[in-house]
């Protein structure tokens, strides 16, 4: 289907649908909004969006990064109508049917991009796209933020993406991936989530504290890792074994 953006009328109807879905989880998504003349605005260029199935946020982000138009004059991440159109197009993947054929709708910012600084990254399609674009020189360094399923980014993503000093820092993101991403399972290591010692939440707190003393952008991920206290040893040990880097023993 040809890419478009929802206009004000389309956004209004999409919001009404989300409100209704919260009450009646059996409702079908209003796909007719994707092409009706009174609910969309055409996007310049003939961009075709395929109805693909994405195994992870990474796959979705890579596909969208490949097909969506970008230019110096146009910041696609601020195009609320376009991301809302995409959400509706891929609605079955961002809001899954449960075993009873019902959907549980989440907060609005997951489907229609929020503009406030506390929620902007939560959109289920723009979020991973944003991460991949920020790390497009080496997207795999951000696997910890992209390995989850499209409909459920997870707490680790929330902890790390919400911190600007982390998400914009390639060394910090690489460190998080090396600490918490398990390449064998393709998902998070056990203990990475939650509030325990060495968790991603603790990493975010520690980096925030280091940011007061150090210019973290000038430090390689190994240097950052060496600053971490003993509570991170169980994750750091995996790096030392797998990566052969120097550092504190596991």
């Amino acid at each position: 289907m040809k890419l478009a953006r929802l206009n004000n009328e389309g956004l209004h109807k999409f919001e009404l649908f989300l409100d209704s879905l919260a009450i009646n989880g059996a409702l079908n998504s209003p796909k007719d909004l994707l092409s009706a003349a009174d609910t969309i605005v055409n996007v310049s260029g003939d961009v075709e969006i395929e109805d693909r199935k994405f195994a992870s946020r990474f796959e979705a982000a890579r596909y969208l990064h490949d097909v969506l138009p970008e230019s110096a004059e146009y910041d696609i991440l601020r195009d609320i109508g376009l991301w809302s159109w995409l959400t509706l197009f891929f609605f079955d993947q961002v809001c899954l049917l449960d075993g009873n054929g019902l959907r549980k709708v989440g907060e609005r910012a997951r489907y229609i991009p929020a503009t406030d600084y506390q929620k902007y990254y939560r959109h289920l399609l723009a979020g991973p796209y944003r991460v991949l674009r920020a790390h497009r020189d080496d997207p795999k360094r951000a696997l910890i933020l992209l390995c989850g399923p499209l409909h459920k980014p997870g707490e680790i993503v929330e902890q790390l993406v919400a911190r600007q000093e982390i998400i914009t820092n390639p060394h910090a993101v690489a460190l998080a991936t090396r600490l918490y991403y398990d390449p064998d399972s393709g998902t998070f290591r056990r203990g990475a989530a939650g509030k325990g010692g060495g968790s991603a939440r603790r990493l975010a707190d520690m980096l925030r504290q280091f940011d007061v003393t150090w210019d973290l952008y000038s430090m390689e991920s190994a240097g950052l890792r060496d600053l971490l206290p003993a509570e991170f040893d169980r994750f750091r040990g995996v790096i030392d074994v797998l990566g052969g880097t120097s550092g504190k023993p596991a």
Partner: protein
């Protein structure tokens, strides 16, 4: 529970007035920043490195600015903010970091700097010189002193898009310093303005504006020597041109056109 950020490092806070950043948009929509940094009073190590960072949400660009004693702002297109398409919500940080035995320690910082619009800033700095289109024959511009409210910068209405022409770095670089020089001489020789106290008077406002630039002294009101006035006016115009990087702005356009 999140830990509280503690700053017990002796890191210095760079005052906003010492880290000023403006952003301009070129004819093709690309953003370029200009940083005006004054770090000499912070007693920082001479080899400490200076970085300017532009950031918004998940996007960040970082620019090396030389060291404290020898700032080396990136030149020309290297100052382009290629990751940003608009100034909306764009913020800057300036960081000074150690380069010695313990490199990477943050020595001084200015954060959450809101950039000003370079063109608007320039307009604000010369609120005293409104631009007006007029048929000037084959002349392109002229300063008009006929009005009681102060001079006007007349620009040829025969230029198809005079408004855009007046906004170009080339026009500003070539015209504004010359116009400023002409106005200051006019005030001294014709109007014989001899103070800066009366803000109702356009001449006083112009003298205040001219003497507000870095390194510019008060006008030599006590002197009748045109040589003194020539020196002062040259200083004021040079400071104005330097502050707005008039030459750099012109060179970027001319290098693009000719080179």
């Amino acid at each position: 529970m999140p830990i509280k950020r503690v700053n017990s490092t002796g890191r210095k806070k760079i005052l906003r007035e010492d880290a000023q950043i403006s952003v301009e948009t070129d004819g093709y929509g690309a953003l370029t920043f200009h940083a005006s940094l004054r770090l000499s009073d912070y007693e920082l190590p001479t080899d400490a490195q200076v970085f300017v960072e532009a950031h918004r949400q998940t996007t960040m660009m970082r620019f090396y600015h030389g060291n404290v004693v020898a700032p080396q702002p990136p030149q020309g297109t290297l100052r382009q903010l290629t990751e940003f398409s608009t100034m909306d919500a764009l913020l800057f940080r300036v960081k000074v970091t150690s380069a010695g035995e313990r490199p990477g320690i943050l020595l001084a910082e200015a954060s959450r700097i809101q950039p000003s619009d370079y063109e608007l800033e320039l307009d604000r700095r010369i609120p005293l010189l409104p631009v007006k289109p007029e048929d000037l024959g084959q002349e392109i511009w002229r300063v008009d002193f006929r009005g009681a409210d102060g001079p006007l910068l007349l620009i040829s209405s025969r230029l198809n898009d005079w408004n855009s022409v007046a906004a170009t770095s080339l026009f500003r670089g070539l015209v504004y310093p010359a116009a400023m020089r002409e106005i200051l001489w006019y005030l001294h020789k014709v109007e014989e303005t001899s103070s800066m106290d009366d803000l109702e008077d356009w001449g006083c406002r112009w003298f205040q504006f001219a003497s507000s630039g870095p390194g510019v002294t008060q006008p030599p009101f006590d002197s009748n020597d045109d040589g003194d006035w020539d020196d002062w006016i040259n200083d004021a115009v040079a400071s104005f041109a330097s502050r707005h990087r008039m030459l750099d702005g012109c060179k970027e356009i001319l290098d693009g056109e000719i080179g």
